[in-house]
Amino acid sequence: MSVAATLSKNRYVPAVLGLGSFVVFVAAVEILIRVNVINRYIVPMPSDVIAAFPRVIVEEDVLSRFLLTAGEAFSASILVTIFGVAGGVLLYRYHLLRLATETWVAAVAAAPLVLMYPLYLVIFGRSALTIVMMGFTAGLAPIILKTLEGLASTRRVLINVGRSFNLTPS
């Protein structure tokens, strides 16, 4: 068996190759900056970036900021899941409601909601709630549409299989 064939069978080779390529690239950038091929005021040296990590983590309080953002994203996704999935199920269950509102929901999904963000600042103030509501409104219409699409495209026979095992339809 050739060396190439042996390597291609080893499951660690792709990961090692990817990591090695990244290290070589970073080292190349570092050298090019040091020999002034790349301007150090435009691209910082990778060694400076690495050295700055402890300072950023300690002085900029990155962990608490990260947790705040994660909390905001989590809250928005919970709200979107509750209202979006419920909305999608309602539209799937009641055909008339779907006919009446689906195009409106699709229009909202396609609308540039980012233009409404200043309005959110006025309504909710400069707080985490504004960011949560931004995430919620941006995600609501797509989640309704995707829930509806998922339920509508589920094959009838699979629903019947579930029902035959005493599961509820939806």
Binding site: N160, V161, S164
Partner: protein, 286 residues
């Protein structure tokens, strides 16, 4: 060879040891052309361990009857009882195998078969042990980790069968399970069904429009009329058991097929005429 004539208005079902009693079932549907009576006063009884075939032309209400017995559709009149208990909705005693491919594509074979056991809340090791037993029963040993997309149509139907059997239903309902398969696979799977049915003493109802399949598998065959679906005749199949697909070449088998076809031909012709006149009406309305 014996057969039993049944009046069009089938008699009220009443058999003491029957595991399934279908009594005077009527099912109607509202259509743009008016009320359609899909099933009209059908009564039947099935004894424990019996294999009953239900045959009829396309559109005679076989699948409607399947859904009513399985509890997926409510009957407008009449009752379905399993071991004396009235069926209102899907019932744990009834396992259903559908005509369409119904394996879950995101689950591998063993997880598909373990599905009803997972719902029943069985511990993981126990449900996988039991699922492995039923995978072996349908002859799919070695395919436990394969996904449905990696299997043939016949193998996928066997997965569905194993999944339904894993729930250990008292009655197995099959709605044209081999309709999408080629004739050779159909005969071989028929052998597998016979083998499993005899091994488990499983009470089975097979809905089909294939006469060969019905005669190969059944103890009795109920022939339905074309719309509204009624019982036209019940034929006792007195072929020896255990059977295999080799029986299709026997003289007695041929006589049963001819007898059932003579009943069915009239109904199938009616269905064909009805379909043609409906197409004509649709063309005129366009």
């Amino acid at each position: 060879m014996t057969s039993e004539r049944v009046d069009a208005g089938a008699p009220k079902a009443a058999v003491a040891n029957a595991i399934l009693v279908v009594d005077d079932i009527v099912k109607r549907f509202e259509t743009p052309d008016g009320v359609l009576v899909a099933v009209d006063r059908i009564s039947l009884t099935v004894a424990p361990g019996e294999f009953l075939g239900i045959i009829g032309p396309s559109g005679c209400g076989k699948s409607t009857l399947f859904n009513v017995i399985g509890g997926l559709l409510d009957a407008d009149e009449g009752t379905v009882k399993v071991a004396g208990e009235q069926v209102r909705g899907p019932h744990a005693s009834i396992g259903m195998i559908f005509q369409e491919e119904s394996t879950f594509p995101w689950r591998n074979v063993i997880d598909n078969v373990a599905f009803p056991l997972e719902i029943a809340g069985l511990p993981k090791s126990e449900r996988y042990d039991r699922a492995r037993h039923f995978v072996g029963l349908v002859g799919l040993d070695g395919f436990e980790r394969r996904y449905p997309a990696e299997l043939s149509g016949g193998m996928r139907q066997r997965v569905s069968m194993a999944r339904t059997l894993a729930a250990q239903p008292k009655i197995l309902l099959m709605d044209e399970p081999f309709a999408s398969l080629d004739e050779q696979t159909r005969l071989l799977l028929g052998d597998k069904v016979l083998q499993i049915q005899q091994q488990l003493k499983q009470t089975t109802l097979l809905i089909t429009h294939n006469i060969t399949e019905a005669v190969q598998l059944s103890d009795r065959i109920l022939v339905m009329t074309y719309r509204p679906g009624k019982v036209k005749r019940i034929v006792d199949i007195k072929l020896p058991r255990p059977r295999t697909s080799e029986i299709v070449s026997s003289e007695a088998f041929g006589r049963y097929v001819a007898q059932i076809w003579s009943d069915l031909r009239e109904e199938a012709t009616k269905g064909l005429r009805e379909e043609e006149s409906q197409k004509l009406r649709e063309g005129e309305n366009r």
